[in-house]
């Protein structure tokens, strides 16, 4: 889900070949986990089947044919929905959230809105856990506290990222 939406996000700036897409993805998001070619092409064919991208011509050459892909209107709508919907608050969201923030900055969308909505979703989840904790027994309290501390760590990251958006905007635009 994250990879296909990230590829859509990279295609929004203009059509690309599968190889270019992989390079762009690896440069921005794949430091620890570069994409395999197979992943890129299987994701692109799924996006093609679902009408999120369309073929945008084939480059002739000596090697294998190089199909170029362009995002469709449905693809933009899909990307927009993904970017503006908060993730289900759960630990270890950083990668997805970081990707969303960078894509928002690259496309001129409001990264602050994405962070704010995620923050509201996290706090809502923390409220529910706190309610459960105040009415539950000690086991409930300890289980809820564990989840609360993780959510709080995420929230701190959201706040710090919000405070560093200008810096990040400058970096991704170079």
């Amino acid at each position: 889900m994250t990879i296909s939406n990230t590829l859509l996000g990279l295609l929004e700036a203009g059509p690309r070949h599968g190889y270019d897409l992989k390079r762009a993805y690896d440069d921005r998001f794949g430091q620890d986990r570069p994409l395999h070619y197979g992943q890129v092409y299987s994701t692109l064919s799924r996006l093609l089947r679902n009408g999120m991208v369309e073929e945008n011509g084939v480059e002739a050459g000596g090697g294998p044919e190089r199909k170029s892909y362009a995002i469709t209107e449905a693809g933009v709508t899909n990307l927009e929905t993904w970017l503006t919907s908060p993730e289900d608050p759960a630990p270890y969201l950083q990668n997805t959230l970081y990707t969303k923030v960078v894509l928002a900055l690259l496309s001129g969308r409001s990264a602050t809105d994405i962070l704010d909505h995620q923050r509201a979703a996290h706090l809502q989840s923390m409220r529910e856990l706190t309610r459960r904790k105040t009415t539950g027994d000690l086991a409930d309290q300890l289980i809820c506290d564990h989840a609360l501390f993780h959510l709080e760590a995420d929230l701190r990251w959201l706040e710090l990222t919000a405070a560093r958006l200008d810096e990040l905007r400058e970096q991704v635009s170079t």
Binding site: S85, P86, D88, P89, D116, H117, R119, A120, A121, H122, L123, Q124, M126, R127, L129, T130, T134, L148, F149, L151, E152, L155, R156, E159, A163
Partner: protein
């Protein structure tokens, strides 16, 4: 239903520094509202304006249909004493008085006789589970106990709004937890609204909703259903 307390378009500067720049928020009777924001965002200034401690340069604060911003100092102080309670991070208890005398103090200032005031103060110390420090001075109580005494003192007059500014800021997790539980549960039992200023998400999670202050302006984002 109109809100119990509302601030509209507040502005406030200290010298060249704009602390509030068009801040607005409402508090309904009996609800717990968290005010969050980074350090220096203006959240404490907003609380002080809402509570009538300082006057905003512009905008209005209305409590129960009465404008606080236009009210003379005397009636404003009287209203603050009878309708509002306050808990701060630390330093609010009178060091020379015992914890019991501290809790009884707002009642005594309101003209209640010593015996009655101390009886009610004792009940509140029991409710906040700090009856054992009644005869001690604040310096002899632990930080967590001191904050619970402060909550008892804030609640003893039956305020309609309790203002809490970083009430657990100086406490460890366990004691902070205990203070928040007791503060919120007693406020809910009494139907007292709470305005809770905090930068800690785990403290804000005791609220019903959250208002964020950034650069002197307020925003409120309601979580989307996931």
């Amino acid at each position: 239903m109109s809100p119990l307390l509302s601030a509209t378009d507040l502005t406030k500067s200290f010298g060249q520094t704009k602390a509030l720049d068009g801040a607005s928020m409402t508090v309904n009777a009996g609800e717990v509202v968290a005010v969050m924001g980074p350090s220096g965002s203006g959240k404490s200034t907003l609380l002080h304006c809402l509570a009538g401690i300082i006057r905003p340069d512009g905008g209005t604060v209305v409590f129960d249909g009465k404008s606080l911003s236009g009210m003379p100092d005397g009636p404003r102080s009287a209203l603050r004493r009878s309708e509002f309670g306050f808990v701060f991070q630390f330093g609010q208890l009178v060091a020379e008085l015992t914890c019991l005398e501290n809790v009884a103090l707002p009642l005594r200032l309101g003209g209640v006789k010593r015996k009655t005031a101390e009886q009610r103060a004792r009940e509140w110390l029991e409710r906040l589970q700090v009856a054992d420090v009644a005869g001690k001075r604040p310096g002899e109580a632990s930080g967590g106990q001191g904050q619970r005494v402060a909550v008892a003192r804030a609640m003893v007059t039956g305020p309609r709004v309790l203002f809490a500014d970083e009430p657990t800021g100086a406490l460890d997790s366990l004691n902070g937890e205990r203070v928040m539980r007791l503060l919120v549960s007693t406020a809910r039992e009494q139907g007292t609204a709470v305005v809770l200023v905090t930068h800690e998400a785990r403290v804000a999670a005791y609220s019903d909703r959250e208002v964020t202050v950034r650069d002197g302006r307020t925003t409120e984002i309601v979580a989307a259903n996931l």
